[in-house]
Symmetry: C2
Subunit: 467 residues, 2 copies
C-alpha cells in the first residue's frame, strides 16, 4: 500500500521543463484514489510535500464532488494558508464544508491581512463565523481594516510595523528589535521605518545595512534612497504600480494625518499586479471576471452582457448593410467581399486599442504624447491599409474579374484601416478621460466603428461606382 | 527664472487620484521649456526630484528630437539606472547620443545583472563599447551571464550571494556579514543561503530572524519553511511563476551540478511577471511586441504579419460565402444577417480562448481538468447560444417577416456558439501541447473556425430550408 503511494509521490516532482511547477496528472490521480478508498493516512502523506498554494490549485481543478470528499477526509490537516490561496469562486463552498473546529483553527493561524482578504467577499453569516473564531486583537485589526475602502492600501497592509525614532542609532534599533516579542513583529519584514515624533514616516533602513553598520551609527545616516509613502485610501492598483516602477520592497502606509499605521510588502503588491493584469486581459476579451472553477450558470451569466452588447453592435452593422440591399441583389460579389473589409478593420482596431489600453494602464500614454500616438497609429493604419488595399484590389480583380470592384475594395480598405487606428487609440483615451475603464468598454465601441465604417465605405462606394 | 521653475516643479507632485504616479503634463512642459532655452541648471533642478524610472518614462514619451536635445543638455547627470529602466525600443538610440565618458560612468554604476539586461539586445558594436567601459570583475561577470540562454534564470540572477555553511551558528553568520567588504555584498539582500560542503543550497535564513536569534543558535534551526532552488537554465517565466505562487522573496540559483551560483530577488521576478503579462496581452491582440516609442516603420512591420493572417482567414470565410451566391441573390436578407452569426461566434470564441490561454499560463488548466473545462465551455456556449437564438429568431421574424428565416438564424446561432466554446478551449490546448504559444496563435484559428462555421451553418441551412 504505502509503496504504491510513494511511487506516485515521486511523480509529483517536476517531469519536464514546461510542466515544472504544475501539479502532475499522476499526483492528482493518486490523491483522488486515496480519497476514493478513504485512506486518510495515504492522503495526508501525498499532500504533505505540497505547498498550500498547490493544494489550493488542486482543489480548484477537481470536481465539486471530489473536492467535498477530499476536504472531509483531509480534515484537521487543512491549513489556513490553503484558504487564503483559494480562488474566490470556491471559497464559500470550501468554508461551508470545513467543520467549525477546523475552520477556526485554520483562521487563527492566518495573518490579519490574509483574513481581511479572505472575508471581504464572504456573505454576512460566514464573515461572522470567522470573526468569532479570531482572538480579540486579531478581530479588532480585521474589523478596522474593513473600514477602508475595498481595493485600497488600507486593506492590503499588515498592521505590525517595526519603527524607530529619528534620534536612534543602530545599536538602539537592534536592541529594540531583539526585545520585541515575536507576536508584535510581522512574519516577514525587510525594513525598519524611521518616524518623526508625530509618527510620520521619514525613511526606511534595510536590515542588511543595519546589521553591517557600527552600533553608534545614527539611523538617519543609513536611510535608503528610494522611499515612497502610501496613503491608506490609495487604490491597490496604484500601489502595485509604485512597487513595480520604483522597485520597492516594502512601503509605509499612513492615515489622513500622515501617521504610520501599517506596511505593505512587495509580495502582496506582486499578487495585486497579477490580479490587475488578469482583469485587464479578461476585460479586453469581454469576460468580466471569471475563473475555471466558476459554475456553468455563473460563467454563462458573466459572459451574457458582453455578448448582448456585441449583438447590438452586429445588428447596427447589419442595418448599414440593409441600406444597400439593392446593390447586393445586383452584384452578389459585394456580399462575398464585404466581411473582409470589416474584419481587417476590426483586427487593426483591436491592435491599436490593445496597445493604447496597455499604455494607459502603465502610464505611458499621457497628455504629453497623446497626439503623437494618435498620429502614429493613423499613419500605421494608412501604410498597412495601402499594402492590403493593393493585395485585395488584385484579389478582387482576379476573383471576380472586375477592376472597378478591385478599386472599390482597395479604397474601402484604406479608409477603414485609418479609421481603425483613429478609433482604436481615440476611444480608449476618451473613455479613460470620462472615467470608464478603457479595458472594459473599448472593444465594443471600436468594432462597432470598424464594422459600420467598413460596410458603409465598401457598399457605399460600390453603389456609387459600380451601379 | 528660478521662481518660474519652482512653480512648475511643485506641479510634478500628485494632482488627482488617477494620475498619482504619472508624470504631470505641466512638469513635462517645464522640462521641455528648459531644454528649449538650453538652461542646464533649470533642467537639472527639474529632473532632480524624479526617480530614474520616471526619467526613463519621460524620455519614452517625448519626441526623438526633444529626447536628443534633453540628453545632450542633461549630460553628466545621466545615470546608469535610467538606462536600465529605458524601453528597449529607444535604448540603442539613447546610448548613441551619450558621450563615451557619460556612458562609461553610467554603466560602471550599474549592477552586473542590470548590465546584462541592458546589453543583451544591443548590436555588437554597442555591446563592445559597454563591456570595455566595465571594470575587469564586472566584465567577466557579465560575459559569464551571457553564456546562459536568453530569458533564463542565469541571466536574471545577481552573482553576489551571502552564504553560510550548515554548521554555523547565528553569531558566526553575523560576524561573517560584518567582515565582508561592501562590494562583495549584493546591493539588496534579504536572506542568507545555507549551503552544504559541496555548495548545494539547503535553506534560507531571513535577516529578521537572524538578528533576533541568540548568537549560539544554530542556523539550521531557524531555516525558512518555504525554499525553492532554481536551476540557471530555467525559463524566467517559470521563475516569476514560482515567486508569485510560493510568495518567495529571494531564491538561490544553481548550476547543472546543483552548486550555488547566484540569487534571484522578488523585484526582478516582479519585472518579469509584468513583461510576460504584457506579452500575453499584446499577443492575444495580434501585436507581436510593440511599445509606443517604436517608430512608425517598425510598428507597421510588427503588425503586418497578423493582419496578413487575418486576411487569409477572412478570404477563407468569403469563399464559404461564395458557395452560396445563388441563395444570397434570391434572398438578400441572408447577406444582411450573416455577419451577426459570425460575429457572435467570434466573440464567444474569444471569451473562451482568453480564459483558456490565461488558465494555461497560470497552470490552472491541466491534464486533470481539461475535459471538464471543455465540457463546461461548450455548455456555456449552448446556453448563451439558446438565449441569443431566441432573440435573433425574433429579430429575424420581425425585421424580415419570415418565421423560417428566424428558425434558420436561431439554429445557426446555437451551432456556432457551441463550436466557439469547443474551438476556443480546444485550440489553445492543442497548440500548447504541440509547443506553440497559445497566446500567439489561437486567435487566428478560433476566428477562422467561427467565421467559417457561422457562414456555413447559416447560409447552408438557409439554402436547404428557404429555397
Amino acid at each position: 500500500m504505502s509503496d504504491q503511494f510513494e511511487a506516485s509521490e515521486t511523480s509529483a516532482a517536476p517531469e519536464g521543463d514546461s510542466e515544472d511547477y504544475a501539479l502532475s496528472r499522476k499526483a492528482v490521480a493518486a490523491i483522488l484514489y486515496a480519497v476514493e478508498i478513504e485512506d486518510q493516512a495515504a492522503l495526508t502523506e501525498l499532500m504533505e510535500p505540497l505547498h498550500p498554494a498547490d493544494i489550493a490549485d488542486l482543489l480548484e481543478q477537481i470536481s465539486e464532488f471530489d473536492r467535498t470528499r477530499l476536504i472531509r477526509l483531509y480534515d484537521r490537516e487543512f491549513d489556513g494558508e490553503i484558504l487564503s490561496e483559494l480562488d474566490e469562486s470556491i471559497r464559500e463552498e470550501v468554508i461551508a464544508i470545513l467543520t467549525p473546529q477546523v475552520l477556526s483553527d485554520a483562521v487563527r493561524e492566518m495573518d490579519s491581512d490574509d483574513v481581511v482578504d479572505l472575508i471581504e467577499d464572504l456573505e454576512g453569516e460566514q464573515q461572522e463565523t470567522i470573526l468569532e473564531a479570531l482572538g480579540d486583537a486579531d478581530r479588532v485589526a480585521v474589523e478596522q481594516a474593513l473600514t477602508y475602502p475595498e481595493y485600497s492600501a488600507g486593506r492590503l497592509m499588515q498592521r505590525e510595523v517595526v519603527m524607530a525614532p529619528e534620534h536612534w542609532n543602530v545599536g538602539q534599533a537592534i536592541d529594540h528589535l531583539r526585545a520585541t516579542s515575536e507576536e508584535d513583529l510581522p512574519d516577514q519584514f525587510y525594513h525598519i521605518v524611521m518616524v518623526d515624533p508625530r509618527l510620520h514616516p521619514v525613511g526606511n533602513i534595510t536590515l542588511g545595512k543595519l546589521m553591517r553598520s557600527k552600533r553608534e551609527t545614527l539611523l538617519k545616516d543609513i536611510l535608503e534612497e528610494t522611499f515612497e509613502i502610501i496613503p491608506a485610501t490609495r487604490d491597490e492598483g496604484d500601489v502595485a504600480y509604485a512597487f513595480n516602477q520604483y522597485h520597492l520592497i516594502s512601503a509605509p502606509v499612513v492615515d489622513e494625518e500622515g501617521r504610520l499605521i501599517g506596511v505593505i510588502t512587495i509580495d502582496d503588491a506582486m499578487a495585486v499586479l497579477d490580479e490587475e493584469h488578469e482583469e485587464d486581459i479578461l476585460r479586453l476579451a469581454g469576460v468580466g471576471e471569471g475563473s475555471l472553477s466558476d459554475r456553468v450558470s455563473e460563467t454563462t451569466k458573466q459572459r451574457l452582457p458582453w455578448l448582448a452588447v456585441n449583438l447590438l453592435t452586429a445588428i447596427a452593422a447589419s442595418m448599414v448593410i440593409s441600406q444597400f440591399e439593392a446593390a447586393i441583389a445586383q452584384i452578389v460579389a459585394l456580399a462575398v467581399l464585404m466581411p473582409i473589409v470589416a474584419s481587417m478593420g476590426g483586427n487593426a482596431g483591436t491592435q491599436s486599442l490593445t496597445v493604447a489600453v496597455r499604455a494607459i494602464a502603465t502610464r505611458d500614454l499621457t497628455g504629453s504624447n497623446v497626439w503623437r500616438v494618435i498620429r502614429r497609429e493613423c499613419l500605421v493604419g494608412l501604410i498597412n491599409g495601402l499594402i492590403f488595399a493593393l493585395v485585395m484590389g488584385l484579389v478582387g480583380l482576379v476573383w471576380f474579374g472586375s477592376s472597378a470592384l478591385g478599386y472599390v475594395i482597395a479604397a474601402a480598405m484604406v479608409i477603414n484601416m485609418v479609421v481603425a487606428g483613429l478609433a482604436g487609440t481615440g476611444i480608449p483615451i476618451v473613455l479613460e478621460r470620462i472615467g470608464i475603464d478603457p479595458a472594459l468598454a473599448s472593444g465594443a465601441f471600436v468594432t462597432t466603428v470598424t464594422d459600420v465604417v467598413g460596410f458603409f465605405a465598401f457598399l457605399g462606394l460600390a453603389a456609387v461606382v459600380l451601379l
